[in-house]
């Protein structure tokens, strides 16, 4: 593998982490969905590049799945959902942007330290991919923890799954069946969560999940 091949893979995977940070920074729902679509697009490019340098044609299928479902279908559906819920202009502030970013940097550092220690024997590309994948995954989790709006929670979950796809493409020999089933289970989860969103709104008149907490407090 030549240096430029590696550099390009590194560039794309690094951009994924950067876009995860952009998502943490974004507090408008519409912009958040657009950034998520951008992440899926970069993910598709990254997977396609891996398919090219690993000469693994089945990864192209994964790239197409990422492109079609995550960059087009799901963001489109999310845009429609927030329009119908009437929250498309909402701005949410839970924890400040600064502390969240710092926590995110800490998580990325943690991911790198852990992955580089654990995978000392693997080849360079896989190690780098694993470290980035774990970072994206942890940043997705961080987003789910810091946000209160149910729609942002969904986006955090989906971006976490982007990290999984990145990890799967970095590890050679992941069968296509597994990837397709993961993609579809995520899609089904998305549909279920979408239905849930409307149920929550029907019940509580809001998609702010802190309303659920308050409800539980009231039940006690």
């Amino acid at each position: 593998m030549s240096g430029l091949d590696f550099d390009f893979a590194h560039l794309l995977a690094g951009s994924l982490v950067l876009i995860s940070f952009m998502m943490l920074y974004q507090d408008r729902l519409t912009a958040l969905i657009n950034v998520f679509a951008l992440q899926a697009l970069v993910l598709a490019m990254s997977v396609a590049w891996q398919a090219y340098i690993q000469a693994a044609p089945h990864l192209y299928v994964t790239a197409v799945i990422a492109l079609v479902f995550k960059a087009l279908v799901i963001p489109g559906a999310l845009h429609r959902i927030i329009k119908r819920l009437g929250v498309h202009r909402e701005i949410e502030t839970v924890v400040g942007v600064g502390p969240t970013m710092l926590a995110g940097i800490g998580l990325v550092a943690l991911a790198m330290v852990v992955m580089l220690r654990v995978t000392a024997a693997a080849d360079q590309l896989a190690r780098e991919d694993m470290a980035f994948a774990l970072s994206v995954l942890l940043l997705g989790l961080l987003m789910m923890v810091t946000r209160r709006n149910a729609v942002s929670l969904i986006i955090g979950f989906m971006s976490l799954e982007n990290g999984l796809v990145l990890a799967a493409t970095g590890a050679k020999g992941m069968p296509l069946v597994v990837e397709i089933s993961v993609a579809f289970s995520v899609l089904i989860a998305f549909i279920v969560v979408g239905v849930f969103l409307f149920r929550i709104r029907e019940r509580f008149d809001t998609v702010d999940v802190s309303a659920l907490d308050r409800f539980r407090e009231a039940q006690k």
């Binding site: 590194h10 982490v17 580089l116 360079q124």
Partner: protein
Amino acid sequence: MALIRDLAIQATQMTLVLALAPLLTGFIRKLKARLVRRQGPPLLQPYRDLMRLMKKEVVLADNASWLFRVAPYLIFAATWVAAALVPTFATGLLFSWSADLIAIIALLGSARFFLALAAMDVGTSFGGIGSSREMMIATLAEPAMIMIVFSLALLAGSTQLSSVATYMLSPHVGLRVTLGMALVALIMVAIAENSRIPIDNPATHLELTMVHEAMVLEYSGRHLAVIELAASLKLLLYVSLIACLFLPWGLAPAGSGGLALAIGLASYLGKLALAGGLLALFETAIAKMRVFRAPEFLGAALMLGFLGTLLLFVSRGGLR
């Protein structure tokens, strides 16, 4: 003989930055005016302003101390030395052993320190507001700048500008996401440091928004001229720094002949014009931020610097 030649080139560099700095400011002003379809001041207006200010008498507040009178010259000297250290058209100059990124940051930091002190010296409220805001911006911009320097130094193995520029010209730089992040972060820091538009408006005298202008409000005559010149020099310095680190093409290598120097000079002028054009375009297109949003802007720069450094550890050659 070689020593005299080296000295001459170094002296050319020092006078060049001094001579070009007001021109760059004038060029940006003219371009910004043209972009909003105004005529704008002539290109040489900053020189005329400086000449006029030089001739005017200095009006000092009654309670101004010696610091107030000395500060402009200190600021100017520190900024000029820093600007003269950055390789503009040639690397490997006589003083390039001292052209260290950290030294440049320190020089600019001391210039800022004296400016803030002098602004508070007379005791007007504007000076106080200006210095406190400037310090708020600086406490965020400087760590970001240091992080950028760290990531570059880790890559190039040196904080010396000449060696970094040589490394950037060598083929084993490759395509690096860290460099992209460092570039964006450096541009953000440069915008904040030079009090350009999203952070501060260089053309305003509106009480609520000004930062740099509030600090120099009490200055007049030749003191003001020197401070204005230092501000232009600082802008030129950051443009040269970005050009030298990220667009080092055309830089004449150490000990090269007249032709290489001429190419270096021409490419430097081209880079200045390009940077000035982009800055004018950016400033016309964007609105000023509220002062309290500046920490977010610079926090993003700091974050990019951090992330760039972290990503370096998983890049090619960084895995251990």
